[in-house]
Subunit: 392 residues, 2 copies
DNA sequence: GGGATTCTTTTCCGACGTCAATAAAAGAAG
DNA sequence: CTTCTTTTATTGACGTCGGAAAAGAATCCC
């Protein structure tokens, strides 16, 4: 399967180079002096760090439009040449694999689906290989090589080892996915938890850029949460972290599949909403979209279900804010399709349950295209390429 | 007030020196090679970092008892000379100031109380000055100078600035406490939130030594929580963090002073327990200890109050574990006096509400002598002395 | 064409940490 | 008793990285 030869690596593996590059990556075209201010290096150090990056083609000088300052020598802006390198991100779900081809700036170029007949690791692996093959065919040529493959899987994933320790959804245990995928594709592979991958994408390329403490809350089939504290994504000592979906918001609430009562997910998860709408309206629902349709039509029982879901999510976010005091919480996920139905309740519940100035936390939403999860996987690959270690 | 002259500083302000010293401080006598393994430096670097520290007297060679390995050259253990320097820690509560004199290893030598007639910053400041004066009098002489003063205050404290931004308990706003105390005492002053200070003490000298991710939960008048993530104490973007006391565990629960319902603190805080025991038994209680006494006597209503309190605390801890996945949770605080009355409930509620392997988190208790809060303050002073910046 | 101002680069230098070699301190083996 | 093995500690050469200061560059304003 395609020799893929070289294994091109990032020049200058010094922390300073990574910092400088990351700053330029996250904050668009920047003057060297501005970079120096941001990362706390001397201007001279920035000049020296930038040079090899320009020589290698990762950075280029000159921006499209330079907003001239009134005084002094105009800045010589530096930006990342997105087209210099490509990455592939893959998200494995229960019934399909989604893959994207992105550039170095994590902009999606091509997105592809592949249905998944079963969840056997071999099946998934060959599916990934096929998807990667398809995406590689979309490449421009050797000028923009594909430098990494990121794979996002739900569950307990050890990114350092590149193994899936336990994924209830896929029914996997201790699958050395990175190693296997590297063998079949010949690419450097990064494997991470799906929510953390999405969080990395937000941290580097999204609404978390420049923040050291924020949270990403995903609303969909499950309710997940990625946390960035002290500038680093929280992984958890035992493979569990960010389980906002299983924060209890009502000990008398509905039973959750985790065995507990009144988890956020048992109230606001997709399955829970469908079940509750059915109970409230008596309508038989065969598809999640139908619950949403009922609420949109104004059926009171359905609307109330969404309202309660919003309240649960708002409380969950308040819990995160009370414990960690993030600067921002970014709500995302497929569930945002129903955002208008519970936006108010999320906000109200958050403000009520947030303690003191935790309520100042900036809670915002971010629409999530279907390929966003795969893009998160690509972001982890880009991160691995630039900074070999997991740390900042 | 006592010139205090010199302002002795830590030699070698390089990160490596701090890391080496901290490792020796937290993990008793260590061989240089062992230090090198722990902090990831080369043996040569450790040798070079240790030398100036020995010359300055902070480290000494040779331990009391060296467990000889069977083979090879025996290690030349290095440990901190606790007596080389002293620190003062002060905790300001509503009605008194507690001060301790500790050595460099944060071992308490002397502890003193001082009643506080009112909460005016001037009164508190002169109280601190008096307490510091008393503790300075216990000093051995110039061989063991007092090198720092740590002050712990509840509320929103900016450690970097050394200001109390807002303390509801003291009714303070924007008091530049570090600056003021430095002027009156002539010592380098560190000001921090009380729970965070306690957490620093655990991180460096207690059950959190060597861990990068853990939590300290304090049970007492309030329910607080200090979090260490990625090896650093979480401060929160808006001055709020670790507010486990205001995590909602029962939306139908009793009203909390924060305006919300069913907070952990509204169920398990001291005032809440007293109120609930009164409601359950009808006995008029004039002192918190009486509630405990009733429960100890086996009065069913009182016991149930404690049981519910334990359940609330256990749920709160589970929430922390679900979100952050700490390696360990350390329960401490005056409320532990009643630990036998709710230990089981804490454990049960934790195990039930913890999601998946989050239940593997090591939850343990740690008795907390009354001067422990002040010791935490001293720990922050020691930390500031060794590492000028707040980071690791 | 001078300042004035701001951004960038150059040059020098010191600090720090690794590498590789060496020394040191034991017990084990013969 | 000598030599080998094993482990720990130290030394000094070397390279790298980042900072300080000064010079250079590019623009606007006067």
């Amino acid at each position: 399967m395609r020799p893929t030869s070289s294994a091109e690596t990032f020049p200058a593996n010094t922390p300073a180079a990574s910092q400088v590059f990351t700053a330029v990556l996250s904050h668009g075209p920047l003057a060297r002096l501005e970079v120096s201010r941001r990362v706390g290096l001397s201007p001279a150090a920035v000049t020296k760090a930038v040079r090899p990056l320009i020589e290698a083609g990762y950075l280029v000088e000159g921006a499209d439009e330079e907003a001239r300052p009134a005084l002094g020598r105009p800045a010589n802006l530096v930006r990342v040449d997105g087209g210099r390198a490509l990455f592939i991100g893959v998200k494995v779900t229960g019934d399909e694999i989604i893959g994207v081809l992105t550039d170095l700036c994590c902009r999606v170029r091509v997105a592809r689906h592949l249905p998944l007949p079963d969840r056997d690791p071999r099946t998934v692996l060959s599916g990934i290989a096929e998807l990667v093959e398809q995406l590689l065919a979309e490449t421009d040529g050797p000028a923009a090589p594909v430098l990494g493959l990121g794979i996002a899987v739900s569950g307990d994933v050890d990114r350092g080892e590149g193994t899936v320790r336990y994924s209830p959804f896929l029914e996997w245990r201790d699958v050395p996915l990175a190693e296997l995928a590297a063998m079949t594709t010949g690419l450097p592979v990064t494997v991470d938890n799906d929510v953390r991958a999405l969080t990395v994408a937000e941290q580097w390329f999204g609404a978390g850029a420049g923040l050291t403490d924020f949270a990403v809350v995903t609303v969909g089939a499950g309710i997940g949460c990625g946390l960035v504290v002290h500038g680093r994504v929280v992984a958890g000592a035992h493979g569990v972290a960010g389980e906002i979906g299983h924060v209890t918001v009502d000990p008398a609430g509905p039973l959750c599949h985790c065995g507990n009562r009144g988890c956020v997910e048992a109230i606001a998860g997709e399955a829970a909403i469908v079940r509750q709408v059915h109970e409230a309206t008596g309508v038989r629902l065969t598809h999640p979209g139908e619950a949403l349709a009922l609420a949109r039509e104004g059926v009171a029982g359905a609307r109330e279900v969404y309202a309660r879901a919003g309240e649960a999510i708002g409380r969950g976010i308040a819990t995160v804010a009370n414990l960690l005091g993030p600067e921002r919480v970014i709500i995302s996920g497929e569930g945002l399709a129903a955002y208008d139905l519970f936006a108010e309740q999320i906000r109200d519940a958050f403000v009520t349950a947030a303690f003191g100035s935790a309520a100042q936390c900036d809670v915002r939403t971010r629409p999530l295209p279907f390929e966003e999860w795969a893009r998160g996987a690509a972001a982890t690959a880009i991160q691995s390429f630039i900074t070999p270690d997991t740390s900042r």
